[in-house]
């Protein structure tokens, strides 16, 4: 009997992961739609990213003369690591067995693994753009990682755990409280997320202007299904950061048991939260311009400072017993 429950949990965890992967393009489409509204343009339908993916999957793959086997495997590895990361993050239910595979620090490591292969794929063909994108991506990643870790510390020291499920649990248990450490960690995580997922003002996902792109420069040589996997992985990463922000700081409504009613409520509430977050992101992107690349370290320094103050205010203000 116990085993049966366990099996059910695993099955549900895999289903949740699948939902994560399938829903990711929708989140991107939503942000794009809000942006279009703000710019007085007609927006593409919400199904557009799916159509793009289907089109790319059915297209022929073209390879550069200089592409090595690493170039061909990289899309699978990048997509695979992002999917594992998605499996670890609680989406609508807590206490799933997949959440125990990895904690928040391993999550950062998984993103690092994906970035490693992405950058190598950029360097593989031997064009200028690929190298440029790889170099910039690694710079942004290297500076974002300490800030991300500070955010994790600010959260994890409060919950005495780095396990995402447990952290969310302790958030739910504490009820409504105004905690400076959470406030600053929230702001810092937003900034880190923007940098890591390549949104305006750090990178512009819509541009192919040669000298400004970061993420697009690395995947410039990809075609067909390989390109589809790379694009999908990027959308999934954005979704993961969105869910992290929603579920870590506004966890109310997430299902703590696996009965259909609470799952349904959790799903509905999460959709609302993501819709709001996406709209906020789109408005913010409309308000700021993409910054020069050498301003990005300043941006990330702000994120780090916020996270640092969050951690310090936890130690100084909240941890006294």
């Amino acid at each position: 009997m116990v085993d049966l429950v366990n099996v059910l949990e695993w099955v549900f965890a895999l289903l949740q992961m699948a939902l994560f992967v399938v829903a990711a393009p929708l989140f991107t489409a939503w942000i794009k739609r809000v942006k279009c509204w703000l710019q007085n343009r007609r927006s593409p339908p919400l199904s557009q990213p799916y159509r793009d993916l289907r089109r790319l999957f059915s297209k022929q793959v073209l390879l550069a003369h200089t592409a090595s086997p690493l170039f061909r495997t990289a899309p699978y590895l990048v997509f695979g690591t992002t999917v594992i990361a998605a499996a670890v993050v609680p989406l609508i239910a807590l206490e799933l067995p997949t959440a125990r595979i990895a904690d928040a620090i391993v999550l950062v490591g998984l993103f690092g693994l994906g970035r490693f292969f992405l950058a190598l794929a950029g360097l593989d063909v031997g064009t200028t753009f690929g190298g440029m994108g790889a170099s910039r991506e690694m710079t942004v990643g290297a500076l974002a990682e300490p800030a991300m870790l500070m955010v994790i510390f600010a959260l994890a020291m409060g919950a005495a755990s780095t396990n995402l499920s447990t952290v969310i649990h302790s958030m739910l248990a504490q009820g409504l409280a105004l905690r400076p450490s959470l406030l600053f960690a929230f702001l810092a995580l937003l900034l880190v997320g923007i940098a890591e997922t390549g949104r305006v003002p750090v990178d512009n996902p819509a541009t192919h202007l040669e000298l400004t792109m970061i993420h697009e420069a690395m995947i410039l040589e990809y075609t067909g299904r390989q390109l589809a996997l790379m694009e999908w992985a990027a959308q999934l990463k954005l979704m993961i950061y969105g869910v992290l922000v929603c579920n870590l700081f506004f966890p109310w409504g997430i299902a703590q048991t696996l009965d259909p009613a609470s799952l349904l409520i959790a799903g509905g509430l999460l959709s609302v939260k993501l819709i709001i977050l996406g709209a906020v992101l789109a408005v913010a992107e409309g308000l700021v311009a993409k910054m020069r690349f050498f301003k990005v370290p300043v941006f990330l320094a702000v994120a780090f400072t916020l996270a640092l103050v969050g951690m310090l205010s936890f130690v100084m203000l909240e941890s006294a017993s």
Binding site: V61, L62, L63, A64, H65, T66, S68, P69, L70, Y76, F79, G80, V83, I84, R100, I101, A102, I105, V106, G109, G112, L113, R115, F116, A119, L120, L123, V125, G126, T127, T128, G130, G131, A134, S135, R136, M138, T139, G141, A142, L143, E145, P146, L149, F153, A156, M157, A160, T162, N163, L220, E221, R225, F293, F294, P297, F304, L308, V315, M316
Partner: protein, 681 residues
């Protein structure tokens, strides 16, 4: 029975090491001796050493031996305990692998002007020296073994001595090794002053005043830190590693630095009495500075082996950060977390030994085939040397602390240690520890950038030089050696619970604090404190990665038929419409590091020189562009240049007594005689 088996194995280990040395003496006349006798014996010595280590760790064998050598009143003491066993195991693995790698690698020296005998002789001696350092149980034996190790490695660094730069690097190394040895000797002096004996047993029970204990700690930190490469005592490392033969670099970086760490751990956790949290703070500071400094310098180097050498500096910094955490927690009555810190440190010692040796062996293969040290002349090697490329990739992934490889496990354990900071009494320490952890995260991310650069520039892209275009895969022996280490990197990353159990034997014997929680939930889950706090399952993540690869493979199989009909189309990459993408248009290693140079520009002393010649007809079209970048180690400027100047000035003053008149020299003798007579009367 087990004890006598261990004794035999130790004897076999030392004898085959010395035998390897002795046989090599014939190698100048009969080169095959090196291949067929010296290296196999070295490999045997490594395997025996590994077996001894395994016995000590798994079976808990401890032995104390007293040999009738040395001074009349102080015979040589040797002792095998789990800590020594752990380090013997590391020495064993790397030595055995080098024994496999060596025969193929040293072929290139057969035609050269250098003596094969010297190479084999000093390699054997070097290994034996390291084994004896770990086994030594009194100050005298320790120092003798330490000196054997240092001097033998000096000759190995100076092996290609026809180039002046190599001789200079070797001299620097010898000088710093000797200064370090003097500091260690002084540290032992303090201990023997309090215990009236030179055996380590007496050192263990010696009770030092707090002041003297702090002095001993400082001396040990400087002495062992000089050998291990703590900033600013690291300057010999980036000079010595690139000039030594690659398998020697692997031994030096993978093993010898660890022997220095061994000495420090022995001193700190075994001899020095109650630990103090101030020491922890000192270690954290030294470790953080070393780690960031090392990785930032590694990031801008263009010589492949210099990158690896600076990266060793970084990793030593990480190990010292772990030790700092451990000391801080132990001194604050949080023994379980302190033990976790020590486990993280030892885990990283093992990891670094594995992946840095792997990377140096890879570098040896690359340099042998591309005849280039410079990253800027490599490129596209993955197509010419696929196996070396694969193993190099494993090394890069491991050293960049990415899951599910081994570097990540030790980093993760370190973070888990740091996260227990709320358990501490002192508020200041609670705040400092997370900041150090953030620095560690920065180091890890920069290391990833550094190794993307190394791998991407050397193995991917198009070949930048003539030799790189014609490189071939290396011989079987070298591949087997690299493959073994790559496999071990994967294995130690995949099964962290087993490694932690092994290391648990060491910490148990050293601190008497068992660590059961970490491995309680089976081989699949690593749970350092408790499963609710944090858990990590490397096998499941590896499963995920393998499934991604399997997906690629399935697609590949599935499309096989259609590919036969119309093969995957190959096109030219996007060249901005100018036509003809030449290798010179690629990003170079210098260009890759340029954003980092901007962000961290105050770290280095950069000398850049940019010349551009414009076309005489069209003022906007550059005809020729030249960019030169020279990186100087700031430590030279801050520390070594002033000290060097001071020493020079002092010796100039002393040199005044050199007048050149024979009468003056006689007068000196005469005066000395009178003074001596006056003194003894």
């Amino acid at each position: 029975m087990r004890d006598s088996l261990t004794l035999y194995l130790i004897a076999a280990m030392l004898c085959s090491g010395i035998g390897s040395s002795m046989f090599s003496l014939l190698a100048n006349r009969y080169p095959w001796v090196l291949r067929l006798a010296a290296f196999p014996l070295l490999c045997l010595s490594g395997l025996a050493s590994l077996a001894v280590g395994a016995l000590a760790l798994l079976e808990g064998v401890t032995l104390a031996i007293e040999l009738p050598f040395g001074l009349p009143w102080l015979h040589w003491h040797f002792r095998l305990d789990p800590l020594a066993g752990f380090f013997l195991g590391i020495i064993g693995i790397i030595t055995a692998v080098v024994g496999v790698y060596g025969p193929s690698y040293t072929r290139k020296y057969q035609q050269g002007p250098y003596s094969l005998s010297a190479l084999g002789f000093f390699t054997g001696l070097f290994v034996v020296g390291m084994q004896l350092v770990v086994l030594a149980d009194d100050a005298f034996a320790f120092m003798v073994a330490w000196e054997v190790m240092s001097v033998a490695s000096y000759f190995l660094v100076a092996y290609e001595h026809h180039q002046a730069a190599n001789r200079r690097a070797a001299f620097l190394y010898l000088l710093m090794a000797q200064i370090g040895a003097v500091l260690i000797l002084l540290c032992f002096g303090i201990f023997s002053g309090f215990s009236d004996d030179f055996t380590f047993d007496a050192f263990r029970v010696a009770e030092l005043d707090p002041l003297w204990a702090s002095l001993a700690f400082t001396l040990a930190l400087a002495g062992f830190g000089m050998k291990a490469g703590l900033v600013p005592l690291h300057v010999w490392l980036p000079e010595a590693h690139p000039v030594a033969p690659s398998h020697i670099s692997a031994l030096m970086s993978g093993v010898m630095l660890k022997v220095a760490v061994y000495g420090f751990i022995r001193m700190l956790f075994d001899f020095l009495g109650p630990l103090r949290w101030e020491w922890g703070l000192v270690l954290l500071t030294a470790g953080s500075v070393t780690a960031v400094y090392g990785v930032l310098y590694a990031l801008v180097q263009t010589d492949l082996k210099r990158v690896l050498a600076y990266s060793s500096v970084e990793n030593i910094g990480i190990i010292f950060i772990c030790l700092g955490f451990s000391v801080t927690y132990l001194a604050n009555d949080a023994p379980i977390i302190g033990v976790l810190g020590l486990i993280a440190a030892l885990y990283h010692v093992l990891n670094h030994a594995l992946f840095k040796s792997l990377l140096f062996l890879n570098a040896g293969a690359v340099i042998e085939r591309s005849h280039e040290h410079d990253l800027e002349a490599m490129g596209g090697l993955i197509r010419r040397m696929p196996w070396t490329g694969l193993f190099f990739l494993v090394g890069c992934l491991s050293i960049s602390a990415l899951p599910p490889f081994n570097g990540f496990v030790s980093e993760w354990l370190t973070f888990q240690t740091a996260l227990q900071a709320p358990a501490l009494e002192s508020g200041v320490l609670r705040a400092v520890i997370p900041i150090v952890a953030a620095i560690l995260a920065l180091t890890g991310a920069l290391a990833a950038a550094c190794f993307v650069r190394v791998y991407g520039i050397s193995f991917l892209g198009q070949p930048r030089g003539r030799h790189a275009r014609r490189a071939r895969e290396v011989r079987m022996g070298m591949l087997i050696a690299q493959g073994t280490l790559a496999g071990l990197c994967v294995l130690t990353g995949l099964l962290p619970t087993m490694v932690v159990t092994l290391i648990g034997a060491v910490t148990d014997s050293l601190l008497h604090e068992p660590i059961a929680a970490a491995t309680r939930h089976g081989w699949l889950w690593l749970t350092p404190i408790a499963p609710e706090t944090a858990s990590y399952s490397a096998p499941l993540i590896m499963l995920g990665v393998l499934m991604a690869l399997a997906a690629w493979f399935c697609v590949w199989i599935w499309l096989r038929k259609s590919r036969k009909k119309n093969p995957t189309a190959r096109r030219d990459p996007w060249d901005c419409g100018f036509g003809g993408l030449t290798p010179r248009m690629q990003y170079t290693a210098t260009a890759f590091a340029m954003p980092f140079e901007q962000v961290f520009r105050h770290t280095w002393r950069l000398k850049t020189q940019c010349t551009r010649e414009m076309d005489s007809n069209l003022a906007t079209k550059p005809e020729n562009l030249e960019y030169q970048l020279e990186v100087e180690d700031r430590a030279w400027l801050w520390l070594y240049a002033p000290v060097g100047k001071w020493v020079l000035n002092a010796s100039r003053l002393v040199a005044r007594i050199q007048t050149g008149h024979i009468r003056h020299y006689l007068a000196y003798s005469f005066l000395t005689l009178i003074v001596l007579l006056w003194l003894i009367s």
